[in-house]
């Protein structure tokens, strides 16, 4: 992608100290998101995909920490930002949508007020950041903006819904409200952490449609974290597949899904149920996710890999280009004369 990336992760490594040693949840990850791009991060539970999002916002729960690497967002390195500077970015330039809408909305405030609150926080109201009783004042158009956003995310009759409490919303509506909170400040990047996992399949499709529209109408970049490869291949422009804290394959969606190179991606694709005439056996990947606290040397996927070779157990593998823009971390590309991603820049 020739354009200046909106977000660039360079060699990002996030670790959590535990009693059994340090767990590297995110291991030297490089990623780029162009303006207007939708990137999917796919992987099993515990592979570090959510931790990437938390690292971007500087919200890695202690005692976890970003051990090394840089996070460039609009040219600034976010790993150096602290306190107010970081807070003014959260929700304003980068907003996050969580997995479980029911527990993410504060139960004691009306939904509309919570959307409005996001605007107030970032001084998008007349009175600035001060609450009303300290002299902050309301802009007359502010409720209109809230209603506009509610309508945009598909909450019917926003006027009436403004005063409803979260428990009066259905799950799908709650998720729409959350998206509205994420959208109201018109961020450049939305981080979506499994936004549809808690929802019915039909509602899932609607929510995805809402996000697709936001991406199209506002040019907002989106990072979608999901374990659902089918969903990601529907919705994303490019996909990064993660395994045990590392990206094992990355590229445009047509190539990653259409022509998967890494055995793990191939395995994931075989796990997807397909509707066909004949009954078909779903082909699970044998074994389980390795313990991140004691990763063996070599390829982390080797113990489960159907095409494992002797060299896999020692090799220090890198992401190498399969075709320009499509990378995989597998021993079969180590030997050839291929670019590593670092060489590409």
């Amino acid at each position: 992608m020739a354009a200046e990336p909106l977000l660039e992760l360079r060699n990002l490594t996030t670790v959590f100290p535990t009693r059994r040693g340090e767990v590297t949840a995110v291991n030297a990850v490089n990623l780029r998101v162009a303006p207007g791009e939708i990137l999917g991060i796919v992987g099993e539970s515990g592979c570090g995909k959510s931790t990437i999002l938390l690292s971007i916002l500087g919200l890695v729960p202690r005692p976890g920490r970003i051990e090394q690497g840089e996070i460039f967002f609009q040219g600034k390195d976010l790993t150096n930002l602290r306190g107010r500077a970081m807070r003014s970015l959260r929700g304003r330039a980068i907003s996050m949508i969580f997995q479980d809408p029911q527990s993410t909305l504060n139960p004691v405030f009306p939904v509309g007020e919570q959307i409005r609150e996001a605007m107030r926080l970032h001084g998008l109201l007349d009175g600035g950041r001060r609450p009303r009783w300290l002299g902050g004042r309301r802009k007359e158009g502010e409720k209109r903006r809230v209603l506009e956003v509610m309508e945009e995310v598909g909450i019917p009759a926003p006027e009436a819904r403004y005063r409803n409490y979260p428990h009066e919303f259905s799950g799908g509506m709650q998720q729409r409200a959350l998206i509205a909170i994420g959208l109201v400040c018109e961020p450049a990047l939305i981080l979506a952490d499994e936004p549809t996992t808690a929802l019915d399949v039909t509602i899932q499709a609607q929510i995805i449609e809402v996000m697709r529209r936001i991406n199209r109408d506002h040019g907002t970049s989106i990072i979608l974290v999901t374990h659902n490869l089918a969903l990601a291949s529907e919705f994303c422009h490019s996909i990064a597949v993660m395994y045990a804290g590392r990206i094992v394959e990355r590229g445009p969606v047509e190539q990653v899904v259409g022509d998967p190179q890494h055995p793990y991606t191939q395995g994931l694709l075989r796990c997807l149920p397909r509707i066909s005439q004949r009954a078909q056996r779903i082909d699970p990947i044998p074994g389980e996710v390795p313990d991140l606290a004691s990763l063996p040397p070599g390829c982390a996927f080797a113990p489960r890999c159907p095409v494992v070779e002797d060299g896999c157990w020692q090799a220090e593998l890198r992401l190498r280009a399969v075709t320009p823009g499509h990378y995989a971390r597998c021993i079969k590309y180590e030997a050839g004369e291929r670019y590593t991603e670092e060489e590409v820049g």
């Binding site: 916002l57 919200l59 107010r84 807070r87 003014s88 970015l89 959260r90 929700g91 304003r92 907003s95 996050m96 969580f98 997995q99 479980d100 527990s103 993410t104 909305l105 504060n106 139960p107 004691v108 405030f109 009306p110 996001a118 926080l121 970032h122 004042r137 309301r138 007359e140 158009g141 409720k143 209109r144 209603l147 309508e151 019917p156 009759a157 006027e159 403004y162 005063r163 959350l178 909170i181």
Partner: protein
């Protein structure tokens, strides 16, 4: 069908109206639930009567609470033989009208109780919130100090402290709050610790809220009801403790009418004039009982965890 060009002229007044309707709706719902809870309702009405009597004491009594006439000593209550309608509850050894003194005594009891609870809630909830949210050495230090205070029985501690700093209204409040904040500290610390793990806190952080704002504007509204319920229940306890201290001569000093000291004064004539001690005692029991009934009822109504079931 809905059109998308509404609210061109939303004014600040309209927004105020929305806020107030919301508040009224909540309040109305609260009273509806209270009406469906007879015990709480009865307690609430009694408490309200005590409060009104205390506020309007000068206008609903005719006698002086502190000066009596020695000629009218120890007149029995009106319904007992020898009683006079002028003194419905009789008089004490100094000829002061007992009803007047009981009504004025409500002022002392309620004032001491409310002040103690207010200070205890303020101190306890703030410290508890900080300790529960930030944990670390602050939490350890405060919790150990709280444990230390918990090791003393309340009354013994208050007696010792009053003996040390001397009687008086201000000292009484100080002695009661010195240990009174602990319950609120422990409650709000625990509540904050459990609320802190909920996702809306994480979401607020992802929205760019500061820690202080998360505690004050996101978590506090979620736990304020439990604190409020505990406050109502503790109010009765503080009132009893104040009465005990006054009874022992360590609290409010005569001639100011406090229920505790009134009970104490009547001890000498207990066999001949039972009413002097008994009636202030009945007042204590009634007020504390109704406060507790009201508090328990509030808990049933307000506690969201009980509501779910």
């Amino acid at each position: 069908m809905q059109t998308s060009a509404p609210v061109e002229t939303i004014t600040r007044r309209d927004l105020w109206q929305v806020r107030w309707t919301l508040r009224w709706r909540r309040l109305a719902e609260f009273f509806r639930e209270l009406a469906g809870h007879p015990v709480a309702l009865a307690g609430g009405i009694l408490v309200l009567l005590f409060v009104l009597a205390a506020i309007f004491a000068p206008s609903i009594t005719v006698h002086n609470p502190e000066i009596g006439s020695l000629r009218q000593r120890l007149i029995p209550p009106a319904w007992v033989e020898g009683g006079q309608a002028e003194f419905p509850l009789g008089t004490d050894m100094q000829g002061r009208d007992l009803l007047t003194r009981v009504i004025y005594g409500a002022r002392i009891s309620l004032l001491v109780g409310l002040l103690t609870v207010t200070v205890s809630v303020a101190v306890g909830a703030v410290l508890g919130a900080l300790a529960g949210y930030y944990r670390g050495w602050l939490d350890t230090a405060l919790s150990r100090f709280a444990d230390l205070l918990m090791a003393f029985p309340f009354l013994i501690f208050a007696i010792a402290m009053m003996a040390f700093i001397g009687p008086g209204f201000g000292n009484l409040i100080l002695a009661l709050t010195f240990k009174g904040w602990v319950e609120f500290f422990r409650l709000s610390r625990g509540e904050i610790m459990s609320e802190k793990t909920r996702e809306y806190v994480e979401a607020a952080r992802a929205l760019g809220r500061s820690n202080y704002a998360i505690i004050a504007a996101e978590i506090l509204p979620n736990i304020i009801q439990s604190v409020f319920v505990l406050a109502t229940l503790r109010l009765g306890f503080f009132i009893v403790t104040e009465a005990s201290l006054s009874f022992l001569g360590l609290g409010i000093q005569p001639p100011t009418p406090a229920w505790g000291s009134m009970v104490s004064e009547g001890r000498d004539v207990m066999l001949t004039a039972w009413w002097v001690s008994t009636l202030p005692g009945v007042a204590i029991v009634l007020l504390v009982l109704s406060l507790n009934l009201f508090g328990e009822g509030l808990r049933d109504i307000l506690d969201p965890r009980l509501k779910v079931e």
